[in-house]
Symmetry: C2
Subunit: 201 residues, 2 copies
Amino acid sequence: MPAVYEGAVQDLIDELGELPGIGPKSAQRMAFHILSSDTASVERLIDALRAVKARVRFCTTCGNIAEAEQCTICADPRRDQSVICVVEEPKDVVAIERTREYRGLYHVLGGAIDPINGVGPDDLRVRELFARLGGEVGEVILATDPDVVGEATAAYLTRMLRTMDVPVSRLASGLPVGSDLEYADEVTLGRAFEGRRRVDA
Amino acid sequence: MPAVYEGAVQDLIDELGELPGIGPKSAQRMAFHILSSDTASVERLIDALRAVKARVRFCTTCGNIAEAEQCTICADPRRDQSVICVVEEPKDVVAIERTREYRGLYHVLGGAIDPINGVGPDDLRVRELFARLGGEVGEVILATDPDVVGEATAAYLTRMLRTMDVPVSRLASGLPVGSDLEYADEVTLGRAFEGRRRVDA
């Protein structure tokens, strides 16, 4: 869509359009919403934007988002220091925390190995992961996404971690709870067979 | 989705989630994008937000967005002062301007009559429209959306405008150019029959 509004409105549409997943139509709708909302709520948005840039950084240990040198998880002595769960993004940490099942530490890679998009192991926090191994760590859980790049990353890390003397596991793939077998895709169903567990023992 | 991130990030997700069409997942994706983008680009977004609130207002004549007392269209003496095209929103003005077919003036209602959502004629710029009639104005074109509320608004305005001595027209409904008759919905196809024009004359 070409620039069609007057100065300031078009500038705002352009800036909003830079955000991920925001096309020109959404940017336009958002700009008009901002135009007609009161100044106080726009100032709250501006303060939130500034605060994120000023206060939020990445945990020097695990790469998760943090408002201090370390994130709240790494800084919590009650977390099990002997397990590291490797994820792609900080939002994966949030997803796992929501289960309340896991009490260990995390390691955020900052993405997945994706040669097509030019992302290699050196672009991720792989070296930082190896630096954390040895000593207390008794298990590494690979929790990258079960998609092509996530699986490739897990395979790469599995191979590299063989040199270290630490057990490595991968999250189970299978049928989602509450789903319908009839509608499962072949790959997921295949994985569910492969990972079947005895229930009579 | 409950608040799961630390302070500043969650605040930003909450503020972004206030924008129209932005659910919690999109807000999260946008927040992480902002987190990892450079400060200069975030400052550009902030400046654009501030500029819109500081500089943009609504044209006192037609209700379109403007950066002065009047919008550029009302202030342009080359526009045909004898035709007023009534639309719901400023973005409709942009859509019509893009056709380069129309050289008259506009009147932006600020919405459509929608009793279910509590929007009556008094909530729109209907009085301001009547104040502009008389004198030079020789035609009012109703260009509200061809949906339920837009049609209701056009019907209401048609009835009210009967008291004024001014011709009123409505944009044609029919098959979109480049579309396929087979896939047209019944209502649109019905309208296309209703509005058929002789081509042999």
